[in-house]
Symmetry: D2
Subunit: 330 residues, 4 copies
């Protein structure tokens, strides 16, 4: 079976998914839609697909699945429309910035029986997957403490910050998902601290740029997350899992692995400076997993419920900072 | 000038300090006291010094300074006695497990004008010192986020745990001091989580074995501490400082730095399995710094106030766990 | 301009090049030829090109360039035929195992003015390219000593060994090319040692499996090569360049960069176990460079002369082992 | 039993051994001799021993063993004298620069039954010892290929070079010993290349500063040695052993193991810049091994025969460079 795709949104991340779908032997990109005709046409011409309207894709008989890469505030509506249209749906995170809206959306997905995958791409990074595999194989015993360090090369424009839902819902949300992925048990409490250390304008926009979070599960397992909107040495993405029998860690990735030595010491190049080069394989792997799940009819993960769970942790973190106390989940 | 020493306590750590004092060209070990005559005699014979009573050392004209390595509950009393006797004092941490007792003790030290150094040996580890130097040289800019990972190879006996004051006052206290050393600004709030994941007996003794802590300073700088009473791969001691212009980190230490490769991969030996082999240089360096400060009449650091500050953070961490909220300091 | 390709040979390496050509925006794969129709058809169907005979490709007006991936003993003949047919030629190494045959072939290439690139893919590995760039930027000063470690995961079948021309012409030849690439000066002498340590059958076939080589240039620069047909820990491919002002090295590559620690130590996974996964990017980059050179009419490198120079070093190494002496080149 | 020592030579390396002897619980430093009275007195006062003449030490009843750290051209004579005087002898390498003189000296040692240890300190480096242990435990199978990289931070003065016997006898000799230590089989042939790349004055003095050597044993095992008189990044000392079942390597050592990251990349400090700080533990360990062997009456290693074997390899390397051919040993 070849899964026939429609792509909604032809921006930066849309291009990444267009390439992944086109390069997959079990999928074909049939159509693309975008509010900017030129963006849609660029993808159409590069990958040999049609430009259509969202409505046309919704009604199309020759399309089995859609990839939603439109602006965040359209996600929930589009998920509901395409769930009702009987399409399998891959949607970039987040479903919505509002938990209640997400819950409503997931309800529609459940009622329609649609397949929905949420784009927590880091679960598909080969290095993080290898850590998860080490855990599954029992090599480090029961997981006890997870440490996630996640720092961006630089802060996004303040305009973006304002629309982002804040650092916990925009940036830490990936780490909340990764913590859940690695803990193997639901966090039941959140402690968070936040500050503006990188850029005052971020503070003026009502957000933070440097945050620390502790999650804890019912059995006492802990995850610590450290985020900064700036890292001069590149895109810093590390995970470490400490267990009863050992420890597993995924190191940072850099474009070339050379080392130059002189009187100043031994120097390796900086890390990747962009999430799209850092997570190239993850983006391809997640689409491949989505396609495989559709083909084989297997369970899709991460699901809408995963998207909701991460958002709930983000909301709890916001509240913990405001109230200076531990927030219980659920 | 040669600084003439009396050693109080001839146990495990007393031996380490006896060796450091004896090996220092500017110091001489004159006498040792211990409740167990055999222990005192072993040191006396190994380093060519006398066995005396504590009272005799207190009254001695030929002794300028003492190193206190006796049980914790004797520290504050001995500091006061030797402060009044006009000796310079090096005391193993902690001064006492009770903040008020520590305050009273420091008051006596101040009134007598005695020199007091508290044994936070990690400040003298060459690798941690090198990180501090990198900060001082401005190479990573203003410090923003400190990460301290500190895990013991194995839990101490429950009997020890019961007398220890609990993990925050016994183990994390080193990390509280290190956080203050690296942040360069006083923490004003503490958030902590704690659990029993390693050994139920520790929980039955009223303590925890796995804890996570977030400290924050007035300007928003954050320090995250992760502790476990068990690490199968050895004595895990890492620090990392993230600043506005870069990052500095001290890696773990291992006894031999070889690597063996085969079909299972590339394997390096485990870390040191004991704090005394891990911190050999730190123990020697701290005594050398104490001797140098006496000789040159310079300020002693870490001081009694440093001991007090770390203990206050430990108390706040205990309270944060109990009350599930952020605890403000001072 | 789109460069239109014919592919000669649809085996393992042919597939790699078919994918690279098809994925390049400036090229198109028009036709494939192979003695086994099924192999050719598999590529034709996967990449949407035609199956043709070699003669048809030779005569085709709609083909600008060919990639030769046929057995080694056909390379020189095919290069001459396609040079005369006016096609640009990318040929897998070696041109031939016989230096005189290679010289004749290059003469034809020169007479016809054909463009010829020889497939020394390692020059296009991003990590090795980065080392070359460090040299070019003067960061390590004048190159003095090059060290190349090159070990295969396992020995090829003895049948292959018999047809291979021997380890120096089959395996070390890549390192001879890399040494020339890094030294930046022609080697004028060769010293070599060889032994059978891995598999007696290799010795019975008249070849070696473990060799060490020293090359020296006129100014005294040295390159040391260490080869083994077996490395239990994977495909070991390292280069190091020591210069007057510093040193640059490219580390080994492994599929995932995680580390697992326990009582046995810290273990990273083995290296890639196959040259095609290790050099995936290099294969894509070399075809891209070939296409770019055709498009832009720029000089092609590595050239036929580079193929000849590496083969001459291999011949000299064989002679050095036999005669137990230093062999001068040229 | 306490082994009573006389020290011959109070220079740089004499001080190192004086400290090692004094710090060993099973030894005592009784006397020191040096042509410069001030040098001898400095050691005498630092370690509480007497200054005596060489003759007095030779005749002394209260001295069991001597450490010879005098200039090289006095070694053989002193060994013979002290062998006849019935003392155990530790002598810095080399015994002499002339193979025949070494043979005569060893003959005297054998006739007198004296114990003689030659100062190949690197055998006692904890990291290199750990590699040897990995081999002995069979973890990497039969040794096949040894790689030794040995580069000095900077060239010694030309005056020293002139008296040194040349780079092979002065510097590479350590690597010849290390190769024998690791191969576990005697080299039977030597191939060497040499050049002047660092300092023309070295060439004018008739020596080289950059050399590459291949040793081979009867069974075909190979050792490759790379030497330079200059390494801007510090004292570069690496060994790697490739075997049938795996590989073992000892990494370089550096004074502090920190890493600093910024926009230029991740930088670790340079290596040790001096052999005495790099090999501090090795110097202490070799004297401890000498003392233990005397105490327990066990075999001493490395012996005079080891000194001779390394020198013979150095001579062969000189000859190989001159004659451009493989030189057979023995």
């Amino acid at each position: 079976m070849t899964v026939r795709f429609g792509l909604l949104g032809a921006g930066r991340i849309g291009k990444v998914h267009a390439k992944a779908v086109s390069g997959d032997a079990n999928a074909t990109l049939v159509a693309v839609a975008d509010a900017f005709p030129q963006a849609a046409e660029a993808i159409a011409s590069a990958y040999g697909c049609e430009v259509r309207t969202i409505e046309a894709i919704e009604a199309a008989k020759d399309i089995d699945a859609v990839v939603i890469c439109t602006p965040t505030d359209t996600h929930a509506d589009l998920i509901e429309r395409f769930a009702r249209a009987g399409k399998a749906i891959f949607c970039e995170k987040p479903i919505d910035l509002d938990v209640d809206r997400v819950k409503d959306c997931i309800k529609v997905v459940e009622e329609t029986g649609a397949k929905l995958m949420v784009g927590f791409n880091r679960r598909f990074d080969p290095h993080f997957m290898a850590v998860r595999k080490v855990i599954d194989e029992g090599k480090i015993g029961e997981v006890e403490m997870v440490t996630i360090t996640s720092r961006d090369p630089g802060a996004p424009p303040v305009d973006y910050i304002k629309r982002s839902g804040g650092i916990f819902r925009d940036m830490t949300i990936h780490d909340f998902d990764m913590a859940r992925f690695l803990l193997g048990e639901e966090p039941i409490s959140v402690l968070a601290t936040a500050a503006v250390l990188v850029d005052k304008a971020i503070g003026e926009a009502g957000d933070y740029d440097s945050v620390s979070v502790i999650l804890q599960t019912a059995s006492g397992k802990q995850a610590v997350i450290s985020n900064s909107r700036r890292a001069t040495y590149g895109y810093d993405q590390r995970i470490e899992v400490h267990g009863a029998k050992g420890m597993a860690a995924a190191e940072n990735q850099r474009p070339v692995s050379i080392e130059v030595a002189n009187g100043d010491g031994y120097t390796r190049p900086p890390l990747h400076d962009f999430f799209m080069t850092r997570y190239t394989e993850a983006y391809a792997n997640e689409i491949a997993a989505f396609i495989a799940a559709i083909e084989k009819g297997t369970k899709i993960s991460p699901s809408g419920a995963d998207g909701l769970a991460a958002l709930a942790l983000a909301d709890a973190a916001v509240q913990s900072v405001k109230e200076g106390k531990l927030i219980r989940i659920g």
